[in-house]
């Protein structure tokens, strides 16, 4: 009984998350190199000219991957209930060993909020990147590029704050969680504690 596993992520969802994560790393590392003129990092990419090409196409991969996440995470992320607000009120139980949190759905309230931040900033950073890259014909293209440059960097800042926190919460902060990104399965007993409403809904 205690060894029962339930499936939390499909193979495609796991693959897509890895594509998203790897493209994010490529984009972020090259992004920092552009931002702060890190010449050694540029050399790793084969020079800044080649790094620009890699950055742009990694952006395409990121954008496509982000699109598929919509099917995986958006419907549940849009459903905020009283339990979600209560969860946020208790900071997800992360600030004390003793805090018990209300039962959560497939994603907890923090994950929902995090996904919405990544989705919105991801859409903004992709769209603004395309404007800077392709410079669509427009009389006031310089204005468009400046706005895009600003939005690209605001989204970047949001992401480099939110995503490391996500990585911490998915690994060190919650031992055993990372297996979802590898096997896609979790112990039923764990799921009952962390995602009670989801377990109930799915009838595990």
């Amino acid at each position: 009984m205690s060894n029962d596993m339930v499936k939390k992520a499909s193979s495609f969802e796991i693959l897509n998350h890895w594509v998203l994560a790897v493209s994010f790393f490529v984009l972020t590392i090259s992004g920092y190199a552009f931002l702060f003129h890190l010449e050694q990092v540029g050399s790793v990419f084969g020079g800044f000219n080649q790094m620009k090409v890699i950055h742009n196409w990694a952006g395409v991969v990121f954008g496509v991957s982000l699109f598929f996440t919509i099917f995986h995470y958006l419907p549940v992320s849009l459903k905020f209930t009283a339990d979600d607000f209560a969860w946020i009120g208790k900071a997800g139980g992360y600030l004390s060993k003793k805090a018990a949190v209300p039962p959560q759905d497939e994603l907890n309230a923090g994950q929902k909020l995090y996904y919405l931040v990544v989705l919105i900033s991801g859409i903004v950073i992709s769209a603004s990147g395309i404007v800077i890259w392709l410079r669509p014909m427009a009389a006031d293209i310089n204005r468009w590029v400046l706005i895009s440059h600003l939005l690209h960097n605001i989204s970047f800042d949001l992401m480099v704050i939110a995503i490391p926190a996500h990585m911490y919460l998915a690994t060190l902060a919650n031992p055993g969680t990372f297996r979802i990104m590898v096997y896609g399965t979790v112990p039923l007993a764990w799921a009952k504690k962390r995602h009670a409403k989801w377990v109930q809904r799915m009838g595990f």
Binding site: F34, F48, H149, L172, W190
Partner: protein, 255 residues
Amino acid sequence: MAIARKALLISPELCIGCRGCQTACKSWNQLPGQKTRNTGTFQNPPDLTPSLFNMIRYVEMPSETNMVRWLFVSRRCMHCGDAGCMKICPAPGALYRTKEGAVAFNKEKCIGCKLCVAGCPFDVPRYDEKDKVTKCHLCFDRIAEGLQPACAKTCPTGAIRYGERDSLIGSAKKLGYAKVYGETDLDGLGAIYAFKDAPKLYGMSEKPEIPESVVFWHKVLKPLAYIGLGGAVAASLLHYIAIGPKKDEEVKKDE
């Protein structure tokens, strides 16, 4: 060793509109001629191009005393002390400052992103057929050898003078120009103008500035990129040490 900042002093009142500067620039920099179009003015070509680093703008601006006043204004890269193009450029060494204070470029390092076009307060940078930046570089190769830029060398009237920036400003003031355009804007321009009238009449912005969004990005968003990342990592580590990982058994125990 630091050397005194150099500049061009442009005096429209002395300019006779011969465009020798345009030709000399093309000659020294081996820029091809271009087919152009009559737009009803002597100004030709109408604006800077990838193979036109400097030009004379012909401004017809009648005054109360002079019904046929014609202003000739040399236009080119202003070699700003605080250059918007350099600020926004993501490729190290693509745009760089020479020891004379000129903003020069290295096409091999340029990645063709064209952000400098958006960052320039004077609409100066252009891109060649290979998508590399081109613009006036103050003849960096000539001035490094102690020569004048081609435009200044060829100017027959002294409308374009090259020299130490401070002494050029001093000489303009001695000639009665109370204000020299570009003396302090953008940490001082490298192309300064002795205007008799309001800069606006010569087609120049009264107060040239780097776009606000670029300044905000430089001052706030850039530092936030590493403070934010560092903060997120530090907060995670702190949480791990101070509170530690979430273990369901422990929560249950206390219930």
